[in-house]
């Protein structure tokens, strides 16, 4: 029944999907944290930049960003991110695009986490004479981190699903392989079912585990 799978690197394609998700997940966590820092900073210029970045990037389709990294950055401006091989170039460009896009959502998740901490907590800490770093380290961040697990898990799941957009610039990940297989084999529904199952295997456990973690660490108010 499943002999149509022979000759295709199914696991390899899903491995590329996982690699895309992990690299751009880490990248967007770093860039998103920097952006969130800017959005809550006391410096008006940084706040303005963070707000503008989030509003612009959130409202552009991811597809346009990914296609732009290939057509605009690579083919027009010659940005190849230090890769020699054509395959590597596309992979790195996809990671770049996914990172820039997802960072806006990571930033919003982190900011909403900080906003869940009641102002009274910080005021009480300041009244006790704690310094800015102490307030941050002892009172605010411990609470903010806990309430941010669930939104971040949602961003990670959405990112995993969004990696399929990299198929638009020829990265051989799951959706790309699926398109090739559908064109070559006469097993449409079975092929789709296999790939759907693959994505459910990636997203469902992430949601279950991180949902459980966020319930464990949630602050009871």
């Amino acid at each position: 029944m499943f002999d149509f799978l022979e000759g295709y690197d199914l696991l390899g394609a899903f491995w590329v999907t996982v690699k895309l998700a992990v690299y751009s997940g880490l990248g967007s966590l770093i860039w998103g944290t920097l952006l969130a820092g800017m959005r809550v900073s006391p410096v008006p210029l940084m706040r303005g930049f963070g707000t503008a970045y989030v509003n612009v990037v959130r409202n552009i389709p991811l597809t346009i960003i990914i296609v732009f990294t290939s057509l605009g950055l690579f083919q027009t401006l010659g940005v190849s991110l230090g890769a020699e091989d054509f395959k590597d170039v596309n992979f790195r460009l996809a990671v770049l695009g996914l990172t820039l896009y997802t960072a806006a959502f990571v930033c919003e998740a982190l900011r909403s986490g900080i906003n869940t901490v009641p102002v009274g907590q910080a005021e009480a800490a300041r009244a006790l004479g704690l310094s800015f770093t102490q307030v941050l380290r002892l009172v605010i961040l411990p609470q903010a981190f806990r309430s941010v697990v669930n939104p971040l898990a949602n961003v990670l799941i959405a990112l995993t699903k969004n990696t399929t957009v990299a198929a638009a610039i020829g990265v051989v990940e799951a959706a790309n392989l699926m398109k090739t297989m559908i064109e070559a084999e006469a097993q449409l529904l079975l092929i789709s079912a296999v790939f759907a199952f693959g994505f459910i295997c990636l997203t469902l456990p992430t949601g279950l585990i991180l949902g459980w973690v966020s319930k464990k660490v949630a602050v009871k108010r």
């Binding site: 006391p42 027009t76 949602n154 949902g211």
Partner: protein, 308 residues
């Protein structure tokens, strides 16, 4: 300005802020200069590449407006079909009957866990194999089908969360005056929850509009993004200019919708007539995992990932 993080600033903090502002300006200026320089080196900023968009209406009439029409057509078709389907499955998940609740939950969780691109590719191949839809209409059908399947399941979650966000007293009062379950849903719960979930629905429209671009990139659907290649070929390889114009159109469209959603949310929250239950744009993303609302469904997993 006071916030959780910092208090109203004194003279030393103000001086430090000025220092940070200057440092940030320097970094920002360096980045802007680098972008300008690399664009200029490839002659992408030459006026001749930008001029077609300003001096003549031809690129708008030939490429951009038809592309935007296709985008809006696909998005509105998807929304119109997905809304009733979503309402059906959302109410189905709240049913008292196990044989309605479990299948609805399974369908919703299944389509929420799969990338919309996979659904579109499958729909495209299925239409070409099993139906005789003409090949120029097929991309539209495939895009709309993919969007409907995915967004109906997200909307189902919105509807469910909207109904659950109403105070319990509403159901109890309806029961007390002798309404049946169907009557309670039709006359009491649905009308109130529609206003509660409006902001969340509007922000889901943004997701639908953004996802139509997938069809242009992968399925030869002639929407806004797909007009980049013919346009830049026609006006002298002005790729950067084309992308900028298209991005600006998308930002204008979606920013209007996003602002409308948050305005609506603020208005509903302040309103005195409602029960006070409002579903903000981000609420439902959380509904899958650690539900802030207690849900009687059998599927609490949630691999949806919200509207990104």
């Amino acid at each position: 300005m006071t916030s959780v993080l910092y208090d109203a600033q004194g003279p030393r903090a103000k001086q430090r802020n000025i220092l940070y502002t200057v440092l940030f300006l320097v970094v920002l200026a360096a980045v802007v200069w680098w972008v300008y320089d690399s664009l200029n080196a490839k002659h992408q900023l030459d006026w001749i590449k930008w001029e077609p968009f300003f001096s003549s209406s031809q690129p708008w009439e030939t490429y951009l407006w038809p592309g935007l029409q296709e985008t809006l057509k696909a998005a509105s078709l998807a929304l119109v079909i997905a809304l009733p389907l979503g309402a059906l499955f959302g109410i189905g998940r709240l049913s008292d009957h196990r044989w309605v609740r479990i299948p609805s939950g399974a369908v919703v969780e299944f389509f929420r866990a799969i990338p919309v691109l996979i659904l579109m590719i499958t729909a495209n191949a299925a239409y070409s194999e099993y139906t005789d839809i003409s090949s120029e209409m097929r991309p539209l059908y495939a895009v709309v089908t993919g969007l409907v399947l995915y967004n109906a399941s997200v909307l189902a979650e919105i509807v469910r969360a909207g109904i659950l966000s109403l105070p319990r007293g509403q159901t109890d009062a309806a029961k007390a005056i002798g309404m049946r379950k169907g009557q309670t849903m039709r006359h009491v719960l649905l009308p109130q929850s529609v206003t509660a979930m409006l902001p969340a629905i509007v922000s889901q429209i943004v997701v639908i509009v953004k996802d139509t671009a997938l069809g242009g990139a992968v399925l030869t659907f002639s929407e806004l993004l797909a007009s980049v290649r013919p346009m830049s070929a026609n006006y002298g390889a002005n790729t950067i200019a084309c992308f900028t114009v298209i991005a600006v159109i998308y930002i204008a469209l979606n920013f209007t919708l996003t602002s409308f959603a948050s305005w609506l949310e603020g208005r509903l929250r302040r309103g005195k007539k409602s029960t006070g239950a409002v579903l903000g744009p981000g609420t439902v993303e959380a509904a899958g995992g650690t539900a802030p609302i207690s849900v009687s469904g059998d599927f609490k997993s949630g691999a949806g990932g919200g509207g990104i």
